[in-house]
Symmetry: C2
């Protein structure tokens, strides 16, 4: 875990690291924000998963979550969105498949299966690494994300009961088996047998009885991708059928951009802080 | 004034406009954030001047000032950092001269003098335009900026008594006549006669008796440009000699980046809100 950048923000420190990833079989870069409270003790962490075309750098420079994390005493763990490098398969003219679009799955199909293992990276390798090397409380984790990363947060929480204390998402791809983005990523990474897609589709996971913490989802009403790609109504209906609380908040006038995320990230981090025991009265 | 983008943020609206600028003799783009309070009445404005290589887009996407502006009821007016376009002289491989580096002066030297008139643009044309077209209170303005833009904020306030109710800066170029960045921009835009530089050098303006509101300056101690380019100690000494309050705060461990600005922008906007009469007790 090689430090590559260190910047003081809001009294704490943004650290970027590079490391040789076993899961992805390549060098990976990630960012961790440590709040001021981490100088005197271990802190819980929120994992943040970004959307298409983002890197570990995108959220930390554009969303402003560090301000709330510093106030609440939360670390932010921000992985990249895919494996990277010259040896990693890519479609350079596509934002929604290949590098920058790992879709948080473990690929099984050629040529993707060697490196595109973001599910294992996010749920196994990265937590073990950062909890060993940084002042983070072991096992005290929540997860959140935006768009493709909102999908990632939901499937990581639904597929790993007990691993994350709370989960939230902004404009997530809630039922990727029915979305153009999801179908092309699933076909490429997992093949055409739709049975193999179900473990990576939040709505299907709920339908097949996954246990889950309550879901918090913010969705802009003016999101240009809402009608064709996101399907929050399918996830909400599945949750109702299975008795899982799903707080889907439709936000009037907001679009799909990171400005929407910036507006409500403070509320999401406060929600996670409460789940992680930091705000007993919140 | 042609609207080109409109995004909901923090309950208010970020609007981008393009217009034919008389001062700069080209099309200019700027951004204005209108807080929720602007839907029911006119609001005061803080003008934000960015640094080298920025556009009107940089601050709005990276600093997070909209959050505080929404809470306080302030508009943010964010101009570009230079004239733009194929017809505008440029040095494409330079970040610190030409397009993206107008240095907030009125150029007098060829080939710059036709378009590089950012001082007139920021202090004359833009305020008149936005106060006519948008729900802004006439004459209720403050100004702030970062690096080259901190220099710009200081000289615009010092050179135009009564125009801005308050001024603040992050890591400003305080004495550009003595800085490498300042000397090359002044030589190119204003020529080699240093007498003509003094109207655009904050320390020289103070020394020559400019009246000024109190100055608020934040400066990181780990700023990589502090020793060679910024010279806040010269400005502070000039203010002391002339009885002008200068609150220079050295911020331990912070660098020159926009993450430093993001950390303290809330304090600066609260300072301006108080000067503009929005926070009587602050």
């Amino acid at each position: 875990m090689q430090p590559i950048e260190r910047i003081k923000e809001f009294g704490g420190w943004l650290n970027r690291y590079r490391h040789a990833s076993t899961a992805c079989g390549c060098e990976m870069t990630f960012s961790v924000y440590l709040p001021p409270q981490a100088e005197t003790g271990r802190v819980p962490a929120v994992y943040w998963l970004s959307g298409f075309a983002c890197t570990d750098d995108s959220a930390r420079t554009r969303i402003g979550a560090q301000r709330d994390a510093a106030e609440l005493g939360l670390a932010l763990v921000m992985p990249d969105t895919s494996p990277r490098g010259a040896e990693v398969p890519d479609l350079p003219d596509r934002d929604d498949l290949g590098q920058g679009a790992g879709f948080y799955v473990n690929a099984t199909q050629s040529p993707w299966e060697t490196h595109y293992r973001m599910y294992d990276y996010v749920t196994r390798e990265l937590p073990a690494l950062v909890e060993q090397e940084l002042p983070l409380m072991t096992g005290m984790r929540s997860i959140a994300g935006h768009s493709m990363g909102g999908h990632g947060a939901l499937i990581c929480a639904l597929g790993n009961p007990g691993m994350f204390w709370s989960v939230s998402a902004f404009a997530p791809i809630c039922n990727p088996s029915l979305s153009g983005w999801g179908r092309q990523c699933f076909s490429a990474y997992l093949g055409d047998n739709r049975e193999n897609w179900k473990d990576y589709d939040a709505t299907c996971l709920i339908e097949s009885g996954a246990s889950a913490p309550p879901l918090l989802i913010d969705q802009g009403t003016d999101d240009e991708f809402l009608a064709d790609q996101l399907h929050p109504e399918n996830l909400k209906a599945a949750c109702e059928r299975h008795g899982i609380p799903c707080n889907l908040r439709m936000r009037e006038g907001y679009d799909h951009s990171d400005r929407f995320v910036a507006t409500f990230i403070g509320e999401h981090l406060a929600y996670h802080a409460k789940a992680l025991g930091l705000m007993r009265d919140g």
